[in-house]
Amino acid sequence: MSTSDDEMTRAGAPHGTHGPVQKHTAEELRAMTPEERMIAGTEAEDIHIVHRRDRFPIRGTKAEKRAERGVAACFLIAAIAGVAFIVYFCAGSWKWHLPGTAQNFRFYTPILGGLLGALLLFLGVGLVLWAKWLMPEEEVVQERHDFDTTEEDKLMTEATLSVGLADTGLPRRGLILKSLGLAGGALVTVPLVALVGGMIKKPGDQLFHTMFRPNKKMFPKSNGMVPIVFSDWRQVSPDDMEPGAIVTVFPGVRAVDANGFDGLTSASSPTIIIRLRPGQKVSYRKGQAGFAWPPSDPQYIAFSKICTHAGCPASLYEQQTGRLLCPCHQSQFDVLQDAKPVFGPATRSLPQLPLTVLTGEDGRQYFYAKNDYPEAIGPGFWERP
């Protein structure tokens, strides 16, 4: 893309020629102008400046001054934005205030962002314009020198490797090779065992039980049955719920278990109790008749809230259809058909909690878990039958 032959020749050999690189002596280089020396430096590495031209060959034109002022204006705006950033950072109101009071703080982050953005943008644009408007246009071609390794190099290196290997004697000293292999294996295995070994925890049967498991020591009055509570430890009574209501409940276990969680914080605890609307009939899974309450005419029914697909809480309940939706992957469970999955990726019904009711000291009725869930709650895993 040369504009004139004159420039081509001044810039040195045109690209594409693989002539021997001309070496200059220090004496010759000293006699050159700096630009000639620079070009000699590129030529020494097979870099050919095929086109090099001042953007403004005539100094001092209005166009040149305009370009210079444009670049300088960018840097000036950047500097001003920077100063404004510092001032506003120090002086701006930034502490959160209740609605109804001064809300200036809401502008703090946006204004800082705008000013910082302006500082950086104008600095960046200024640099790019400087290069595009004022620095010389250049078209430079560099030889790739992507040659294959020479045959000589290959031969010598191969010999270096093979003789070196022979010097160690490994190819013929099988005993050393094998014992070294063992030591190397140990060297790799030891840190692996030491690092991972310290982290391994045995699942045991923990995935099969929840805190609803009856505990006679903790709850002697209810014959070990675990009381069902709201998230504020208040016990759940059938009277707390309107028909069609759904509540999230937990095992009323205040003592922390071996993992440091109590009934509210344990991830396997969350359970829902749904009060059916009048006329809604439920079906049972085999062996789970009587899990709902009252057993003769079920009105209250409890399921694990943890989706059997990926463990999100399945918490969106549609009263009319009796469907529970998990918002993570849209699995849907039919509460009236023992919470079996009717749409989406889930494969298994939500486990059902056997409910019963005892009369408390205050004369009100309260829900208790007759037993733990009959199966592991939450997403599937290998050991699950």
Binding site: T33, D54, L116, V128, D146, M199, G311, Q330, G344, G378
Partner: protein, 553 residues
């Protein structure tokens, strides 16, 4: 020329302060030779090469802002009661991690903007890497000798995604906690060792008390360390193998054409770094992201609807939503449905991407080294495969937000799921076919222009009454008026204006009123213009022809 004429140098003693400093270092480090090599290194210029630059710069921004955030963030799951400035959360039980994240937003001056810049830069980092990968794929830049860099890049994307996931899990808010719970379910779905993996990672049953601390050290030390090393290797290979470029004048398999690092390329690249940083800073300040104070602390019993992960995890969310409820139960064991879309599918995708360069070389029996890029249209099969893969990815991506789409457009959620399942299988082949036809069409049009010339838009009536459009040949023509130029992999001009651009650009001086220069400057301008006019005089069409020949040689 920018020549400044100095008197010839008499000795080699540096005289200026900077010259003395350079001499001091050179005597100790022998810098002059290697430094000149790097300063003179030639980088080609093309807009598509900037994707990788954006990825690199956003990584630098992540390092800077992330280091700042570590000064305030406390990666502890210990329970605490919030007493900070944000009144709605006061008195609520939460982890130290969540409380300190709230503090960064409400009790550290300027903390929120840094956190938001960090988050935006993370989204940009992964996005730029992915688009950079598309560029490399569609132009064939992954071919021999650059297969290793392709694989390094693939590892960078995977690590970038894991790094991002670890990062947005740290605040221990409701949204990220839900994400961690799904991650726990994914671990549990692995056959045989699943529940052991989960218990080992979480230090007991989910959520345990260690995961935030472990994710933290992975997020601020382990993964960034590996990323940094791999980025170093990635760039070192680019320097060693030199940049690829599209064919064109001076751009052959043996040469790189462009600008030298110092000063022009350095100024442009440095400027571009600040522009990328400016975009992140403006987004971080002006556009709210991940407002964790609205979500509340993580509780296993709570979730909000419309909970989407960061965009780079969306395709996995989508695949999980679309995958049918297929569970394998055999011999008293369960293989959960989650295993296929979250473990097997990404495994297949990554493996396919990793082996693609080798498969393509084998199928095309191509053992040569390539430094010139291909235009996507010239390799229709690869381009169509890429379009197919992107379509597959996009269906998964949008399915990750199908609940939002269903809500926004009032579509049945179940219909969205089924639509996603059907489109996932039908759209990619359609995309292949369409892309293939488009490639062939573009190829044919290139040949047509080379053979018949450019459409000028001038309609002529022949004496016979026939209307024809006058075509401007790009080069010499044979006796039938057909062009002699062959296609060489470079863009072919398609419009008259594109040819015009090839001639030296003239500023439109004095558009509104004549520019009055000083007399001596005006004289120099006149002289210069007269010289240029004389140089062009002998053959006014010459420059056009030369340009065309250069383009197509």
């Amino acid at each position: 020329m920018t020549a400044t004429t100095n008197p010839p140098r008499r000795d080699n003693k540096p005289r200026t302060p900077q010259g003395k400093a350079a001499g001091w270092f050179d005597e100790r480090l022998r810098l002059a030779g290697p430094m000149r090599t790097q300063l003179n290194k030639v980088f080609p210029d093309h807009w598509s090469f900037m994707m990788g630059e954006i990825a690199l710069y956003s990584f630098v921004i992540l390092l800077l802002t992330g280091t700042y955030l570590t000064f305030f963030f406390d990666p502890s799951m210990a329970e605490t009661t919030y007493h900070g400035s944000y009144v709605p959360m006061q008195g609520i039980q939460m982890s130290q991690a969540y409380a300190s994240t709230l503090d960064i937003a409400f009790d550290v001056r300027g903390g929120l903007i840094i956190r938001q810049i960090h988050h935006w830069a993370a989204l940009l980092f992964v996005a730029a890497m992915l688009v950079h990968m598309f560029r490399v794929f569609f132009t064939g830049a992954f071919r021999k000798p650059r297969e290793l860099n392709w694989i390094i890049g693939l590892n960078l994307i995977m690590l970038g995604i894991i790094e991002g996931f670890a990062g947005y899990s740290l605040p221990d808010d409701l949204l990220s906690g839900t994400g961690l719970r799904i991650a726990d379910a994914i671990m549990k779905s692995i056959p045989v060792i699943g529940s052991w993996v989960s218990f080992t990672v979480f230090g007991g049953p989910f959520p345990g008390h260690v995961i935030i601390g472990r994710l933290y050290i992975a997020h601020v030390l382990l993964i960034p360390g590996i990323l940094l090393a791999l980025i170093g290797a990635h760039l070192a290979l680019v320097v060693r193998q030199k940049h690829t470029q599209f064919p064109g004048p001076g751009r052959t398999e043996d040469t790189v054409a462009g600008e030298r690092v110092f000063p022009i390329y350095a100024a442009k690249a440095g400027g571009f770094f600040f522009i990328v940083f400016a975009a992140c800073a403006a987004l971080g300040g002006l556009v709210q992201i991940n407002p964790v104070w609205l979500f509340g602390p993580y509780q296993p019993s709570a979730v909000s609807s419309g909970s989407q992960p960061d965009w780079y995890m969306m395709f996995l969310d989508g695949s999980t939503r679309l995958f049918p409820s297929w569970e394998i139960r055999l011999w008293g064991h369960t293989l959960p449905p989650l295993f296929w879309p979250t473990v097997v599918l990404p495994g297949i995708l990554v493996t396919l991407a990793a082996v693609y360069p080798f498969i393509e070389a084998k199928m095309t029996k191509d053992t040569l080294k390539h430094h010139l890029l291909q235009r996507p249209r010239d390799v229709p099969v690869r381009t169509s495969l890429g379009c197919m893969a992107i379509t597959f990815y996009l269906v998964l991506f949008f399915s990750g937000g199908n609940d939002l789409i269903a809500k926004t457009f009032d579509i049945s959620l179940n219909a969205m799921t089924w639509g996603g399942r059907i489109l996932l299988l039908t759209l990619p082949p359609i995309a292949y076919a369409v892309a293939y036809r488009v490639c062939l069409g573009l190829q044919r049009h290139d040949r047509e222009v080379l053979e018949h010339g450019l459409e000028t838009g001038i309609i002529k009536v022949l004496p016979t009454g026939e209307f024809i459009e006058v075509h401007q040949p790009l080069g010499p023509v044979d006796e039938h008026g057909h062009g002699q130029l062959t296609y060489a992999g470079a863009p072919v001009p398609k419009r008259m204006g594109q040819l015009g651009a090839a001639s030296p650009v003239k500023h439109i001086r004095g558009f509104f009123y004549p520019v009055k220069e000083k007399p001596e400057i005006q004289a120099a301008i006149d002289e210069q213009e007269a010289r240029e006019a004389a140089a062009l005089e002998p053959d006014p069409s010459g420059s056009v022809e030369n340009r065309t020949r250069e383009l197509t040689d």
